[in-house]
Symmetry: C2
């Protein structure tokens, strides 16, 4: 057993080292190469490729791990009470985490197909956002003439647009949560467009 | 001269045939391969790769050509008068064209980095949407506490979200223009979120 358990423990440690190195480097430079990441991890390129068959596979693994942390952090956001105020708290928490992993998201966007990025976002957080929107719609605080699924998609589309616009230099980072909140509250509460 | 002009004319014809074949096939199946496209064009794979070094390069060329047609079609939309009604006309026209090239857009999303897709969308149409939004903001018909650039980004993010949601089976295609219009009018006209 020991002779087999030992290599497996080594492999796990190497995988963690590679993921840590990739998260650090991609957070600094979204175009960091496999060679850069291997050097940062103190491992050979062959070892890195042994665990992650391609740069795309490594980026995907790093983003999956980061999203688990995001899910855990957003569990603590209070979504009770006034829906508008709760939406603002949700946006602030989501945005802090988006900024923290901003360059990593850019690396993900460049390296991974959109369908993979969507699929990775499914899970605990998604269910929580969905339940929050549905409940505010039932109470009449958010408009209910548009589907809950749609508002969930718009929540992500707007947060994502802010990240893209900041990266392109067209939106001030300090302005992001105000702009996201104002846009989403307008979309979720106005009945002007419900002809 | 003739001996050189002839091959160039042939090459141009082949390029058009490849682009036509790719547009047809990718419009039916976003995962169509280079081999499928070569067969549809009645050419060999080597010839196709001679003109487009990779599937990604070919998808990019097809999408660029399709976007030129979109730009031309949207030139005819009347954006004068009431901003809400003009926005609705713009969304209906944009949406018809999005549906027509829906599967092609899916192929583009899968094959191309997000930055390339963004860059390809710059041009005539973008300036027109921007001028329309800025003018409605100046007249007080759209809210002016959020930047014009931001609303332009939101316009595309919302249309794009509708396309994605329909593809995922979460939005009815017949519901799309109503949902997009209601969402954008809410975001562009409400002042509820402008705390």
């Amino acid at each position: 057993m020991t002779s087999e358990a030992q290599p497996r423990a080594d492999a796990r440690r190497n995988i963690e080292r590679i993921l840590d190195a990739a998260e650090t480097l991609l957070g600094r430079d979204p175009s960091a190469s496999m060679g850069d990441i291997a050097a940062e991890a103190g491992l050979g390129r062959v070892t890195v490729y042994g665990h992650f068959g391609s740069r795309q596979a490594l980026v995907e693994a790093v983003v999956r791990r980061a999203l688990l942390e995001v899910d855990a952090a957003l569990q603590d956001v209070d979504l009770s009470g006034d829906a508008g105020a709760a939406l603002e708290r949700l946006i602030q928490a989501t945005w802090q985490l988006t900024v923290r992993s901003g360059r990593l998201l850019i690396a993900a966007e460049e390296a991974l197909p959109a369908s993979t990025i969507r699929e990775m976002h499914q899970g605990g957080l998604e269910d929580r956002v969905r339940d929050f929107i549905a409940s505010a719609q039932r109470r009449g605080e958010f408009r209910s003439d548009l589907p809950t699924d749609w508002f969930q998609a718009i929540f992500h589309a707007v947060v994502h647009a802010a990240s893209t616009e900041i990266h392109a230099g067209r939106l001030e980072p300090t302005d992001a949560t105000r702009v996201i909140t104002a846009t989403l509250l307008g979309a979720l509460t106005s009945l002007q467009g419900a002809s």
